[in-house]
């Protein structure tokens, strides 16, 4: 290093070496002492690259990056916004009850998480169930509270069914997407519906006619009130019952024997007794009365009064007929009889059933 006379920098006035080409403190070049250096020299290697890279990104790169960003935003943000604004858990539960109020079973089903239920085979989930005039959908729906916990949500809802105010907890789940937007579904939107009907009887519920193998029916049904009636029957009838889905007691059809059927049974019993009275035997075959051997055949039977009948429905759903008050019959013996004419009381029993379109009374086979 050369040590020589000190001088001052032309720019900042700092004391610098007289031989310095630049000021050490401010870097300004010193006109009296130009730097000695070399010019760039041509190189042998052809692979040399320009050392200094451009100081702004290329337009192509900028356009590419901007296009990617815009594309990503356009492809995702609208879907996310639509999902959160129109397809949240509140929308699912509201959509469900609105669809029921509009009696649209398809739309209601679309908001449900079926959880293994098959709609096609279930009459209570069909369109008929909610379009039936006997169905009263929930009205005045109000979402009272919604608690979202990750992929699960609980909604407290209030609605009116058939004039009764109902408060329910509905759970929702965010799961498999049914379309690009909808992921929340109502998990327990279907409510239990219990009916109690005469065994083997056909009844109508939710627009469908069903036949219960046993006397209790249990369904999963859309919320609302349903009318339960007995299907048309010449023997029995029952007052229609309103069943509200979700209520523990369910609906019970109390059957009774139709009065027209009672008349028919009365006539048939009369004809049966009359037919028995035409017999000249001591013990007419299959008949409700007989006499001892003090009387000699041919005897003469005469019906003095008919029994008052009572029809009851047993636990198997059969209609049994018995006598509330007995009837009476007189017997007059033949010429060889030891006994004078006498009066007996008798009772009739049997069953009544439907055969074809008519009611048929059947006495017991053996007396």
């Amino acid at each position: 290093m050369r040590i020589d006379v000190a001088t001052t920098c032309v720019a900042c006035g700092a004391e610098i070496s007289g031989g310095a080409p630049y000021c050490p403190s401010c870097g300004t070049g010193q006109p009296d002492q130009p730097a000695v250096s070399q010019d760039p020299v041509p190189l042998v290697d052809s692979r040399v690259t320009p050392p200094l890279l451009p100081t702004q990104p290329s337009t192509g790169n900028l356009i590419l990056v901007t296009a990617i960003i815009v594309l990503v935003i356009v492809a995702t943000v609208p879907v996310l916004v639509i999902r959160s604004v129109f397809f949240g858990p509140d929308d699912a539960v509201r959509g469900y009850f609105n669809a029921l109020a509009a009696r649209n079973a398809d739309a209601a089903w679309a908001q449900l998480d079926p959880g293994g239920l098959k709609r096609a085979s279930d009459p209570m989930l069909s369109d008929r169930a909610v379009t039936d005039t006997g169905y009263h959908p929930p009205t005045g729906f109000k979402l009272v509270k919604l608690k979202v916990d990750g992929a699960d949500a609980t909604a407290s809802v209030r609605y009116t069914v058939d004039g009764q105010r109902q408060t329910e907890q509905v759970t929702l789940h965010r799961g498999r997407a049914t379309n690009l937007f909808q992921r929340w579904h109502v998990k327990d939107g279907l409510l239990p519906l219990a009916v109690q009907v005469p065994a083997g009887a056909s009844y109508q519920l939710g627009g469908s006619t069903m036949t219960g193998a046993d006397s209790a029916g249990q369904f999963a049904a859309f919320p609302g009130a349903y009318r339960l009636t007995l299907a048309h029957d010449p023997l029995l009838d029952a007052s229609p019952v309103t069943v509200v889905a979700g209520q523990a007691q369910g609906g019970t059809l109390v059957p009774r024997v139709q009065s027209a059927a009672q008349d028919t049974i009365g006539k048939q019993v009369k004809a049966y007794v009359d037919k028995c009275a035409t017999s000249t035997a001591l013990t007419p075959q299959g008949c409700p009365f007989y006499a001892s051997s003090y009387y000699a055949e041919p005897v003469h039977w005469q019906v003095l009064s008919y029994p008052t009948l009572r029809e009851t429905i047993n636990e198997n759903g059969q209609v049994t007929v018995d006598s509330q008050a007995p009837g009476s019959v007189s017997i007059t013996g033949g010429p060889d009889s030891f006994a004078p004419p006498e009066t007996f009381s008798f009772s009739v029993s049997g069953t009544a059933a439907v055969s074809g379109d008519s009611v048929v009374f059947t006495p017991p086979q053996q007396q």
């Binding site: 290093m1 760039p40 020299v41 290697d45 690259t49 320009p50």
Partner: protein, 403 residues
């Protein structure tokens, strides 16, 4: 460390040309108030342009860092290796059985052949098992984490994948901003110091001269690190000269000018910003990597080392065999560019001198993964090859007479 006793004699080159010194933007004499982007290369229109240019320098490294750190590469490695071993064993057994059964049907030679086949069939089965297992396990490791929760909604899976990319880049950007803004303190903590008055008197004029000849309107802050490595490093706003470099080259102006113009090119090209971004994007992985390597370095206890390796090997593999190689490929390109910067500044002689000297001070062997693939710098001889002036002969051995 070997210190060269050679005088700072310039190697043959074109004669020097006097250049009039232009007025340069003055370097601040006193430390100014904290400005996070001060002394960045002034050629960029704004600090934003500088950052954008820097972070778009190394696509390869950034993508590698994203995949490795945010897309379960270590898990893919773990699963791939585990499944490969299991499938390889199964393939060995299965292949042997199948080959033996098939060949035994051949009359006369069947039995002999089948005995042979037990070995070769097993080998083929093992190879097939290894290959299929590694592929299946690797792909499974990459894909499985995305399938657990979101299989029911491909849209959400897609959004999460994108968010992962965005998140990784945001982390990388934040790390880059932190690295730039706190560079003075980071360097101070790493041992760099401000130049002394006499160091400044020697080095600053050289720095300014190089910058001026490169056409750079300003210079970064120059710091000295007192370690004895023969090295110099360009950061985003600083150049650090190691004391070892100055000592070995005995403060030779031409050598210093060659090194400084090389580092100035790095600084101007925002190579430091690119490096910060890649490191930032791979931050979770780098932290795990740093933790594992620290344990391995510090502890001699075999149990701790075994535990560190057992837990950390997928991370070590992901960094060493994926991120670093991808990043270093562009780093080596940047080195060639920086060497050309020295040529542009007229310091071909200086940079050649330094590279020739370093050949003597370092073990130049490059066999092995670390040296060949993970090297941040190209081989010195290759760098020298690209720094040969036309019409000049460069003998390999010192005593060799040129033809």
């Amino acid at each position: 460390m070997t210190v060269s006793g050679q005088p700072a004699s310039p190697i043959a080159g074109p004669p020097g040309v006097a250049v009039p010194a232009p007025a340069h933007r003055p370097a601040p004499a006193a430390r100014p108030r904290w400005r996070p982007f001060s002394q960045r290369p002034a050629g960029y229109r704004t600090a934003g342009w500088w950052l954008v240019a820097g972070i778009t320098r190394d696509w390869r490294g950034t993508v590698a860092a994203l995949i490795a750190a945010w897309f379960n590469l270590p898990l893919a490695i773990l699963l791939g290796a585990t499944v490969a071993v299991v499938a390889g064993l199964a393939g060995a057994v299965g292949g042997a059985v199948v080959a033996s059964e098939y060949l035994q049907r051949i009359p006369v030679f069947g039995e002999v052949l089948s005995h042979l086949a037990v070995r070769s069939g097993g080998g083929i089965g093992a190879l097939a098992g290894l290959f299929v297992g590694a592929l299946g396990g690797g792909v499974g490791g990459l894909v499985l984490p995305w399938l657990f929760d979101y299989l029911d909604d491909p849209f959400v899976t897609g959004v999460l994948l994108l968010l992962n990319v965005v998140f990784g880049i945001v982390i990388g950007l934040l790390y880059t901003l932190y690295g730039i803004a706190f560079e003075p303190w980071r360097l101070k903590l790493s041992g760099a110091r401000v130049m002394s008055r006499r160091e400044a008197r020697l080095l600053l004029p050289i720095l300014h001269e190089c910058a001026q000849r490169l056409g750079l309107p300003n210079v970064p802050r120059l710091l000295i690190d007192d370690s004895q490595d023969v090295n110099a490093l360009a950061y985003t706003r600083h150049i650090v000269l190691r004391q070892g470099l100055l000592t070995v080259f005995e403060y030779d102006r031409e050598a210093i000018a060659g090194v400084l113009s090389h580092e100035l090119t790095h600084w101007h090209n925002a190579d430091g910003v690119a490096r910060l971004l890649v490191r930032g994007v791979a931050l979770p992985l780098y932290l795990a990597y740093a933790g594992a390597t620290w344990l391995l370095r510090v502890f001699e206890n075999p149990i701790i080392r075994f535990a560190a390796l057992t837990v950390g090997w997928p991370v070590l593999l992901a960094v060493r065999y994926f991120v670093v190689p991808m990043q270093m490929a562009s780093s080596r390109a940047a080195e060639y560019r920086a060497d050309q910067g020295a040529v542009r500044a007229g310091h071909l002689t200086g940079i050649r001198y330094v590279l020739e000297e370093r050949k003597g001070t370092f073990d130049g062997s490059r066999n092995g993964w670390d040296e060949a693939i993970c090297a941040s710098h190209p081989p010195l001889e290759h760098r020298l090859e690209r720094l040969e002036a036309r019409g000049v002969d460069y003998p390999l051995a010192p005593g060799e007479v040129e033809a």
